[in-house]
Amino acid sequence: MTQITTLIKRELMSYFFSPVAYVFIIIFLLSTVGTTFFLGNFFNSNQASLEIFFLFHPWLYLFLIPAIGMGLWAEERNTGTIELLFTLPISMMQAVISKFLAGWIFIGIALLLTFPMIMTVNYLGEPDNGVIFASYLASFLMAGSYLAITCVTSSLTRNQVISFILSVIICFIFVLLGWGVFTDVLNKMFPAWISDIISTFSFSTHFNSLSRGIIDSRDLIFFLSIIGGGLVINALILETKKAS
């Protein structure tokens, strides 16, 4: 356990000692807040809620998170520091988990830094803070799922760009599966029960469901299973690469 915590600390520190973290967080903040006020017409909605703010997250994450995660493994393999990592007295799973958790915590910090939005919406009216909490939870879990997928693609190749593109494509499919227009196409191609099952594997479905304010075990299990599964696959791939 302590090995994981030390690794996590090391990773996090390296984030904050490089300009990457600051650039990322600032872009994250500007894009989430900017889309809310300008694209989402926050003031015109006259709704004291952060629904509009969270509406854009699945799409913003599509680019932001692969950007963070693309280098996680690819860079280590590129620079050879991955060899160093493997000499440490830790298991593959531990290494994978630490890298992932460090990235996830970093994204969590970025999310928390949007706290002025919470203050704004409480100042302007009386929002349902239970719903806001659930939405943040949903966004955090969804971000974790995106990150897990990106970790996998990052471990597949040394090339960060390929990792980025692959990750975007896979995450895009996951989001699309729950998107209204696409579900119509599915409805036409497959019988109802199949297209329903397919839709349940979408980020948007569970994200929307969770951010309403109902903590449903199905949504939690979905995100956690994607994260868990992603990490296991990540470890498997690295094992293969290690052997060669």
Binding site: F17, Y22, M117
Partner: protein
């Protein structure tokens, strides 16, 4: 090489296994799940009232929800609302899954489902481009069926109420009956010939009656009645004017037999059509009501021609002309503190509007115990109602001289009563022209005192429950919808349901909202309007004066073809200048009205965008500085 291939192969297999496990986990999770509703108002959890009603269902019920959720031109509010409806319906099913079946249909055009929707009476609404929206609910139980043809997004806060109500109606075999004895056309009226000549149409039922009809059967009771029919559990006496001895006796006996009575009187009703007609014909209008004989017997102290003015709860009204907006003390805008916090029926009420109400107090010798529902402040005074005809709001306000006494405007009275009559009065003489033989009716024996506690709800205002002052009407997709403007309707229906024992419905009625507006902006607007509206109306009046003078001069110029004197030309110039100045001042005011809000929006946007990034940059620089110092050391 082979070893590598084998490794790759086994990895691939492992990966596929992991994927299958993920899918399996999620499929299993779909069947065994738990939920926790952390919304502030438990929006997605049904209230206790609904639980009680749903648990009592003993015969299977099917809820059929028809919603065209995939319509292209479906506005977002309908989409979200439609989704919320299906989620809420699922909650109903979860409460009693053995007895409740839920079917969700998407009636696509020309499909079987659309046919079924129409058969069930769900008309849907035209979206204007040929597409038809369906968002209706049918519930069936054996052969009985009830429906809500089109669920209204503006009735969002009553969604649970409407659905549970439908369920209640379906399972109830007998509804309680309300009898309405009213001098006003609350049950709707056909326009008589005089009114028809004036172009007036039939008046519809008042909205509060329609709401009550959802839980009760509502019938008219004629003022000529000798005895209140046996099957009536609640009698509503609304705006009684000079009722005959027979009618008073009927009410008296009804109460003694344990019937529940609601009396609504008003010292000056604005909505009274007879009074309006009399005023039009130049007669002294009789707009007040009273139950003098019975009130005296019951120990109720009520002045039928006195209006209560409350300086702590005035309402901003437009007094017209040069006066502009005035805080009128005779129209009460209530706040939370006016209501009895101990009763569920009134605990949640906030915002009621009373129009020239009266007020009552109890005599010390009254046999009845009072439970106040609405109480005025102590900053009140009574005004004679005739003053309304001759004075303007400002003068009337000045006439309200507080005595430190507070009055009850609505209250529940309980206790054992004695009759105000010694025996049944003689029936009114029948007209000789009446050819019909007198009907043989067996009337009940005279009761001199009540066998059980009587229950009376007394309200000293009638106008507040008229449509004008309680609801807003609007058209939506070809249907007329009504939305409550304030808590007036809530109060009335709550109280009747409370008396009628449908308490479960009352618990549901005061449920939360899905919508939360920017109250900060609303407050800014209100404050701004207060300040600037006065200035604006004064300026408007000024403008009208100036324009009138201008047109006078112009007329002179036009008709008489008199050459204008230098003086007159100067005058015209001056007036035009004044007109310009006043108009620009008005524009300034309109700008100021929005200014506070616009500036708030700007600085909020800036704060959100800039603060944290700036802090981060500072933090980053700090880290760098530390690192450099470390390195240089």
């Amino acid at each position: 090489m082979k070893k590598r291939q084998r490794l790759l192969g086994s990895t691939a297999v492992n990966i596929v296994l992991v994927l299958i496990i993920i899918i399996a986990i999620n499929v299993i999770a779909a069947s065994l799940y738990f939920r926790l509703d952390i919304t502030e108002e438990k929006l997605y959890t049904l209230s206790d009232g609904t639980e009680k009603i749903v648990e009592k269902i003993s015969t299977p019920v099917t809820l059929k929800y028809y919603f065209t959720k995939n319509l292209e031109s479906l506005p977002l509010t309908y989409k979200t609302f439609g989704r919320k409806i299906s989620e809420l319906l699922k909650e109903y099913q979860n409460l009693n899954p053995e007895m409740i079946q839920l079917e969700i249909h998407d009636p696509k055009p020309d499909s079987d489902e659309e046919e079924w929707a129409r058969k069930y009476g769900l008309t849907g609404g035209d979206l204007g481009n040929g597409e038809r929206l369906y968002m209706g609910l049918v519930i069936t139980q054996e052969e009985r069926e009830l429906n809500i043809p089109l669920l209204d997004p503006r009735r969002e806060q009553f969604l649970e109420y409407d659905i549970t109500h439908l369920l209640l109606q379906l399972s109830q075999k007998k509804d309680k009956k309300i009898g309405v004895l009213s001098s006003m056309p609350v049950m709707g009226a056909m326009a008589n010939r005089f009114q028809q000549m004036q172009g007036q149409r039939n008046t519809p039922k008042w909205v509060f009656i329609e709401e009550l009809e959802k839980t009760f059967k509502v019938e008219t009771v004629e003022p000529s009645v000798q005895e209140v029919p046996e099957d009536i559990s609640i009698l509503m006496v609304i705006h009684p004017k000079k009722l005959s001895e027979t009618a008073l006796y009927a009410i008296d006996q009804f109460v003694l037999r344990g019937g529940e009575l609601i009396v609504m009187v008003d010292p000056n009703s604005r909505v009274d059509p007879t009074a309006a007609m009399m005023a039009q014909m130049g007669q002294m209008p009789q707009a007040s009501s009273n139950l003098e004989k019975l009130f005296k017997q019951w120990g109720i102290n009520y002045q039928p021609n006195s209006i209560l003015g409350d300086k702590d709860h005035p309402t901003r009204v437009n007094a017209g002309g040069n006066t502009g907006a005035v805080s009128f003390t005779l129209w009460h805008t209530l706040s939370g503190e006016s209501f009895n916090k101990e009763l569920i029926a009134t605990r949640e009420l906030e915002d009621m509007l009373l129009i020239e109400p009266g007020g009552f107090t109890m005599e010390k010798t009254s046999p009845l115990k009072l439970q106040p529902l609405i109480r005025s402040s102590t900053n009140t005074g009574l005004i004679e109602s005739f003053m309304m005809r001759y004075s303007d709001p400002l003068t009337i306000n000045k006439q309200v001289k507080p005595t430190g006494q507070s009055y009850i405007i609505a209250g529940i009275l309980t206790g054992k009563l004695t009759s105000a009559f010694s025996k049944r009065p003689d029936p009114p003489k029948k007209d000789d022209k009446d050819k019909k033989p007198p009907q043989k009716v067996t009337l009940k024996p005279h009761l001199s005192k009540g066998e059980q506690d009587s229950k009376i709800l007394l309200v000293t205002d009638v106008d507040f429950i008229s449509d004008n002052f309680s609801v807003e009407q609007f058209n939506l997709l070809g249907k007329v919808f009504r939305q409550p403007r304030n808590d007036n309707l809530n109060f009335m229906v709550n109280m009747v349901e409370f008396l009628g024992g449908a308490q479960e419905m009352m618990e549901i009625r005061t449920r939360g909202r899905f919508r939360r507006p920017f109250s900060h902006f609303l407050e800014l607007e209100k404050a701004a309007q207060g300040e600037y509206q006065d200035a604006e109306s004064k300026l408007n009046a000024q403008l009208k004066e100036v324009q009138a003078k201008l047109s006078q001069l112009n007329v002179q110029k036009g008709t008489n073809k008199i050459v204008l004197t230098k003086q007159q030309i100067e005058q015209i110039k001056q007036f035009r200048e004044e007109e310009k100045k006043t108009k620009s001042k008005l524009r300034e005011i309109r700008k100021l009205l929005r200014q506070d809000i616009e500036s708030a929006k700007t600085w909020l946007t800036q704060v959100n965008l800039i603060i944290v990034p700036v802090l981060l940059i500072l933090l980053g620089l700090a880290f760098y500085y530390i690192r450099f110092r470390k390195q240089s050391n």
